[in-house]
Amino acid sequence: MARSRLWLMIAVGLSILVLALSNAVLSDHYMLLSFVLLMAVMLPLFVRFERRKLEARELVLLAMLAAIAAVSRIPFAALPSVKPVSAIVILSALVFGSEAGFIVGAMAALVSNIYFGQGPWTPWQMFAWGMMGVSAGLLRNTWWMRKRLGLLTFGLIWGFLFGWIMNLWVVIDLAVALEWKAVLAVYAQSFYFDLAHALSNVFFLAILAGGWIKVLERFRKKYGLLDSG
């Protein structure tokens, strides 16, 4: 039953993909194309997560981290463009691995948008935060991620990367219609927001790294959570 449903899902997904893709390529629908590609990247990650049989504890932990990341925006409502979600996603991924990082990031976006309003930006946000988690998790054992400076640089880069990904859904349609300089203009316009995001990432990672990792490690050890992640 589970297998057949999985295959059915993949078949339906693929057919929609092919149809939409051909449509998009044939008639320059870059926005649609980007959506389809987005789904195509995220689907295998979700499927992989589905295939792992997780313990109740692990599920609760992931849900709780996603919820905390979503809620963490509240105390900072008074400070514009300071959002600790990214820092929390990165730290979760560092401790619990890339798969957990993806789920926490993607779910945090989905859940917080249930309160802030869903829209075509939701999959983009899910993608951006999800990838932030995946990359942090994949790099967590490299020597430079273990260095403080490396971690901070990582946060800085993702601050910009996040903004660029989020610009895409607006820009991708403009790219064909407008000159590249218009696209550049959009990116230049968002530069200060991205910079603020990047700097706040650096700040949060700088003050949180030690304490939060200790806290999360404590839970991981105490309860043997997501060990193979």
């Binding site: 899902m9 008639s27 959506f35 709780m64 996603a66 919820a67 900072f76």
Partner: protein, 292 residues
């Protein structure tokens, strides 16, 4: 509360909005888009949440004007030059393209407004749970935790203020640091308590066998019928659009906006598609009116 279009089966509703989003991107033609916008707005008004449009308006106008004004200023593609602005040729094509783009964006944004109203979280989760049950479970738990965490956070904020920890006073760094202290209290506390949630799941047999799903939504005849109609319409629109119907050719050179036969077919299909929710709501309204 839940009557009319809202009361349709989640699959039907989701299909409608998915298709609509697709149409918003595929049918790049001002007439199509305008028709879609008018019918969607009337649905929103009939469903009495027009307030959400008003709330979105300022932001929307900002983006809209930017697109309409900036596009012709930067893009000079096209044959028909309307006038020169600061030595830059302003072409009819680029103006028209900007407007069409704006319409496309408008339809997408209106779709998400109407979607947020009609496809409530539980309906979305119901769909999600069939496709990816484990991820859906995580989301549902996260949704259950968010209000709990918000309440906890407000308690923490209150109590920590008595100790001088607050995001409302001090330098920016101090405020950011204090904000994070609040979140950390929440983190440690909630992760500790979350293990009890896990126990409660295990105590009720989580992971002992293959899960089934309790379903509150039932697909009735009307749902099935409408789902069928919507699917056929979407298919026709997708195929038609792939064949180049219903698409205004603007660049490199504007061509006639007059509908061809194929365009008319597509237009009728799209019209019916957009009318479905309005008709469902209208029928409901009539039945209430005459039952009194």
């Amino acid at each position: 509360m839940t009557s009319g279009f809202r009361a349709l089966h989640p699959v039907t509703l989701f299909l409608f909005y998915g298709g609509l989003l697709l149409c918003g991107m595929l049918l790049f033609h001002p007439v199509f888009l305008l028709t879609g916008i008018v019918l969607l707005v009337s649905l929103i008004v009939i469903q009495k949440h027009g307030g959400t449009i008003v709330k979105m308006l300022p932001l929307y106008l900002l983006i809209g004007i930017a697109i309409v004004v900036i596009n012709p200023l930067i893009s000079h593609r096209g044959r028909y030059i309307l006038f020169y602005f600061m030595d830059q040729p302003i072409t009819l094509e680029s103006v028209l393209y900007g407007v069409t783009m704006l319409l496309s964006l408008t339809l997408i944004l209106l779709t998400s407004l109407s979607y947020n109203y009609n496809v409530t979280t539980d309906k979305f989760m119901y769909l999600f749970a069939r496709l990816v049950p484990q991820s859906a479970l995580v989301v549902m738990m996260a949704l259950r935790f968010v209000p709990l965490l918000r309440r906890r956070l407000s308690q923490i904020t209150l109590v920590q203020r008595t100790r001088g920890i607050s995001v409302h006073e001090g330098s920016l760094t101090k405020r950011m640091r204090d904000g994070m202290t609040l979140v950390k209290v929440l983190l440690v506390w909630s992760l500790e308590e979350a293990l009890q949630s896990a126990d409660s799941m295990k105590a009720r047999g989580y992971g002992t066998t293959k899960r089934t799903a309790y379903v509150v939504h039932r697909m009735d005849r009307r749902d099935r019928w409408l789902t069928g109609c919507l699917s056929i319409l979407i298919l026709v629109i997708m195929v038609g659009s792939a064949l180049g119907w219903g698409r205004a050719v603007i660049y490199p050179r504007m061509q006639s906006m007059v509908f061809s036969m194929e365009d008319w077919i597509l237009y009728v299909c799209f019209g019916i598609y957009m009318l479905i929710p309005v008709i469902v709501e209208g029928k409901e309204w009539l039945s209430w009116k005459y039952s009194k």
